[in-house]
Every structure is written in C-alpha cells, then in structure tokens.
Symmetry: C2
Subunit: 357 residues, 2 copies
DNA sequence: GTTGTTTGATGAAGCGGTTTATCACAATCG
DNA sequence: CGATTGTGATAAACCGCTTCATCAAACAAC
C-alpha cells in the first residue's frame, strides 16, 4: 500500500542499499554513494512521497527512539498538581529537540500499580519515572529487561539515576527568609512522609533555626501534606493554640498546602502576612493566585524534566561523563505573603513588619 | 540477545508457527494447535521468560496499538489549565482498558506548529487532537497518511470526528440560573473567539435572556478569554460603568476567567455574590478554590477524553455504529458564588437574595 | 605492469514476528 | 472401500529496513 524503499530503488535504478544509505546520510559506514546517484535517489523519493517506516527501522536497528514517561500513582496528583504538567513540558522540550518520542504511562484508577509496570514493553528504550513509590515494581521490570531509567524526585541510591532539586537548601531559604524578617516562632507543615524531599526540607528548616539560636519547637513541625485540605486542617490545629502560642510564620509543604494555610488563617479572622506569614514551596503558577500572592521556594520543575530526559538520552547514546544524580538549585521567589514587600529586611532601611511576640 | 519465538519453538520441539498461534490464542485462523503442544509451548515460553517483541509484531501485522495525543498549541494552556490533565486521565483510562498505548505530542515553545505535525509518523494508528487550531497542518498530514483522528473540542464539520460537550445548553444553564435568582442585568465574558465553544455558550446565554424577556445589552457581552488575567481586566472595565450600570451577575468564559472576575469585584470593594454573582464554566478542581467557591457549568472533561479514545479505537477495530460527533451533556454545579446557597430559587420557600436594580 | 587502495555499488542475510499454502494422517461417510 | 472432511502441524514467504560481505572498476604506487 504505502511506498517502500524498494519502490524508490526501482525508480532511481539503484539498489535498496544505496537508497538506505543515501536517505540516512550514512557517514561512518562502509557504504558510499556518489553525488549523482544520491540525487537520483532524492528525486525518486520526493517524487513518490516516500517516508521511511519507523517500525521496520526499529526492528532492523533495535532502536525505537521512544522514551517512556511514567506519571505518579495518584489521580489527584496528576489532575490537580501543576507539577506533572511542568515536568512534562520540560521533558517534551528535550525529547523533541533530540528527535525522540514520548510514550505515556500512568497508573490511574482502575489498574493496579503492577499492571502499569506490565505495560512497559520493549517499544521504549528508556523510562522516566516521576516520584516513584518506594518499592515500585517498575524498576524490577526495567532491570530485568535492561531498560535504563531515570527518576525525578526520588531518593538517590547507589547506582541509581535521578534528578532532584536542592530540597535541603530550599528548606533553609524559607527559614532564612522568615528569620530575617524577625520571626521567632515558626511552624513547618511537612509534606508526605514517604518522600525524601519532605525530610530534607524539614532538615534545612531545622538547621537554620538552630544556627540562628531560635528555640526549635518540635510541636510546631507537624505532619501535613501536598494537598490544600491537609494544609487547611493542619493550620487550623496550629491556630487552636491561642494567640500566645500560635506561630507567627508557617512554612508549608508546597503551594497548594500554603493555600490551605492561608485560608485557615483568614477564616480565623487573622491576616496574612500581618498576623502570620506564609511561605510555600514549588512556585507553580498557582503561587501567583493565592491571596496574597505567595512567597515560595522556586523549584526548577521544567528544568528537572529537561535534565532527566537529557540524562536518559545521553545514556542511551553512550555519551560519557554524565552526572547520574544532579541536584538542581532552588531559589526564593518573594511575593506578598510574608510582608517582605512592605519592609524587606531587618537590616534594610525600612522597619521590619510588626511581629507578635 | 533477548529470547525469541525461535528459541521457544526449539525448546518446545515445535514449529515457530505453532508457537505464534498458541501464544496469540488464535481463534479465527486456519492454524490449529492441540492442547498437548499448546502446553508444551506455554511451558517453554515460561521457562525462557519469553515476551513477544511488539516491534516485530507491528511490522508483521501493520498494527502498532499506539494512539497519538496532540496537546494544544500553548505552553500556558498546558501548564496552567487543569483541562488537559483531566482529558488525559480520561483518555488513559480507555487506552489502557483497550490495551493500547499513548504517544504524546505537543507543540511547545521552540518548535513551530508544523514541526509538530511532522513528528506524527506511522508509529501511531490514530490521533487524538485537543483543541486544534483552525487550519492545523496535522489534519492534512493525517489525511495524507490515512491516519484516522478524533478531535476534542473542535467545531464539528462534515465528515469529521469530534467530541464536544453541549456548549449551547451550558450557556443556557448559566443564564437560567441567574434569571431564576432574579438578575436583570447580566454580563458575559466570552472566551477566545476562534473556538466555536465560545460562540455557542454566548448563544445559549443570549437565547435565555430573550426568552425571559430581559433586555439584551450587547455592551455587556464582552470579549475576554480563558485566562484569569483576561477575566480580571474585562471585569474591571465593566465595573467602571458605575453602580447603576454595572451588571449584577457575570457569566465567565471558564473557571479561571471567573477567578479573575471575582478578584476584580472584590478589589473594587464589592462582594461576591451579594453585589455581583459569578458563574464559571468547566468545573475543574479549581472551582472549589475560588472565594467564594464557584457556581459553574460542569463539563464532563474526563468523559470527553474517554469518549474520544473509545471512538478512535472503535474506528480502528472496524466497529460499526459509532456516532462520529457526540455531544456530551453538561450540568450546573451550584456552589456559593451566586448566592443560591442562601436562597436557592425565587419559586422556593426562601427569599431570593437582594439584587440591586 | 603488477599490486594495493580507494570509490561506488550491490546481493543477501538478518531483525522477530505473522500468515498463506501445503501436507500427513485419522476420522467420517455413502 | 474409495472419497471426503477435519485435525495438527510446518516450511517458506513476507513486513520494510539496515548492514555485512563482496565485488568491479578506477586510480595510485612501486
């Protein structure tokens, strides 16, 4: 039905081999094609509207030029969190750039985790996994099939390839910002306990308080989560301590969690940032929509996706000298939820905002 | 390297043909395999850990069991709008259920539209396109290659396959709700003018006002867009008319646009819903996060994705009797942005909320 | 003038499956 | 009992492309 390489060869009056070589611009091969025949072949191909069949090519070469992307195991996460979108954007950018394709896998409602792993077949050369659960069956499968993989947001272990951002420093930045603004009683709403990022951020937060010689209250470091409902609930509980005991600042697990915190605070008749300052994490587009706009730790999400794709492709192409566990830098995006826009720093010309003692 | 069908045949002491037939549970074929050999083959396959190579299979059968998904041409849309996530969820559900795979394509920053179309190759059997621009090169390409496609949210044209929701009725529902609540001066922030949905919704809105014998003010039906910034800007302009002339209710292009409207209203020192009621469209997860939570027209986004995938697969498998242009029903999700929760309906037991004349 | 070497080109063997055509043999039938 | 039917199995062609091994001719070197 479709026009094949044979048809081109016939029309050009050459061998199939020549067509293949000419069309692939083979350079390192032993096969040579003269300029004259090369042009005859081009003409014939153009005339017939020939496009090479990638399936046949894959079978012959053993390469598909397709990467897999496994999105995290939660509908809510995928649906509600802008994170996966951004990471996908980054991945796509690199994948397109390197002339690869992307095959999508998710373990959404209805199928078990392990069913999802089954789907990963030899159509793909490598796999990108976002926020894999601890004991994912996918990795076993990949290892058995010898499919290289790179995970995004995963605790780096020996020999693993994973892209992370600097969660520890992120935690520090949030804390440092609050400390500079004069806060003494700060709470941290921790993210999901089974991802390492949560602990690293908390550690950064703790270390800064310690270095600043601020009393570390363990009861202000509470388990919350990456959902705004959880942020709301946790904050409500913190507020029940009464004015004297409640924190003057909250470092939330992520932007959505911060949204919940802000709501709880406002619902209690208090003001952000005047009564309680709030810092988020991620700096997704959502951070501009909170009221007030959220001061938050910026995570280079797209870059992480891009980096992961780049690493995986580099590995597939046998490139050398790839750092298998890069940690991308974070930064602090200052908006209005901490009052820093009113009086940036204690050491600046303006007064620091009033902070309840 | 990997174990092939030949290895299995050798170990089982049968022909390759028999292995192929046995493992595919061929029923309609002329090839028969006895129960005894069948089991020998199963054993051998299990023993060797054989998995069939989908590439080779594709080459032989001409089918790849892969669908393509082309996401819309805008970074902001993909990144910020929960829509594409939800539609993807729906598609994945059906795709997994029917044992297909999904290949992702996007035209993100850096590559031209037409480059994106180039990427679509014969690796896919069919293509799903979300919100295609008018004169997309993709469709030409698909037609040339004879790749069937189904579009989601696209003006249905003769012979096209596309999934839509009932935008006209959606527009009506929003308007009817407001009319029931006693509003007389209503505005509509229209969505992007180059998608048909915008016009259909506006038409529904207009028709209801007309039927209710409410004066139709064309200057209150303004061009806005699917972004919250646009909603904010448009609403600010509406508010500049002064209290006597400003609308008592606004029907926004979508939830994000409604968010902008709410902000503008509150920034002007007015209240939602007491001064101005707001209705959104889409009912994405974001609608629960506006303040107050948004009354909005629910669009069955996941179902639309699922439906599109189902149609495409049905077509590929030669199934008959498929409606090529289904229109899925919408409904109204009533929350707090119109005051209906305070006094549901004029014909109910409660008083309708006070509405400025 | 014989021997290398380079250039241009090709046939044929895969890659790992599916499928058609063919065949041996046992069972059923008039 | 010869003819027909059904069952079980297989060899070989094919899907469309890459690539190895090979070769003829032109060219350079000794």
């Amino acid at each position: 039905m479709a026009v094949t390489i044979r048809d081109v060869a016939k029309l050009a009056g050459t061998s199939i081999t020549a067509v293949s070589a000419a069309l692939n611009n083979t350079s390192g091969s032993t096969i040579r094609v003269s300029q004259a025949t090369r042009e005859r072949i081009y003409d014939a191909a153009a005339q017939l509207g020939y496009v090479s069949n990638p399936i046949a090519k894959s079978l012959a070469t053993g390469k598909t030029k397709v990467l897999g992307l496994m999105l995290p195991y939660a509908d809510a996460f995928v649906d509600q969190n802008p994170f996966s979108n951004q990471v996908m954007s980054g991945i796509m950018r690199e994948v397109v750039h390197r002339h690869y394709n992307l095959m999508l896998y998710t373990a959404t409602s209805g199928i078990q985790k392990d069913r999802a792993a089954m789907l990963v077949d030899s159509k793909i050369e490598g796999l990108l996994v976002v926020m894999p659960p601890e004991d994912s069956a996918i990795f076993l499968k990949c290892k058995k099939r010898n499919i290289p993989y790179v995970s995004i947001l995963d605790r780096p272990t020996a020999g693993s390839w994973s892209v992370n951002s600097d969660d520890y420093t992120g935690g520090r930045m949030a804390a440092e910002h609050l400390v500079k603004l004069g806060h003494k009683r700060m709470a941290h709403l921790m993210g999901s306990p089974d991802v390492s990022t949560s602990h690293l951020r908390a550690k950064g937060f703790r270390d800064v308080l310690e270095e600043a010689a601020i009393e570390l209250r363990e009861d202000l470091i509470v388990q919350s989560g990456f959902d705004w409902r959880l942020g709301l609930d946790s904050t409500e509980q913190l507020l029940q301590r009464g004015v004297k005991e409640m924190p003057t600042a909250i470092f939330a697990a992520n932007d959505l969690c911060a949204e919940g915190a802000i709501r709880a605070i406002r619902a209690a008749g208090l003001s952000v940032p005047n009564d309680i300052a709030v810092v988020g994490y991620d700096d997704t587009w959502y951070a501009t929509l909170t009221q007030p706009p959220l001061t938050t730790v910026h995570m280079p999400i797209e870059e992480m996706g891009e980096m992961a794709a780049r690493m995986l492709i580099a590995r597939l192409e046998g490139e050398d000298e790839i750092d298998p566990q890069p940690i991308l830098p974070v930064s602090l995006t200052v908006r209005n939820s901490c009052g820093a826009h009113l009086a940036p720093f204690v050491d600046g010309t303006k007064q620091s905002p009033p902070v309840r003692q």
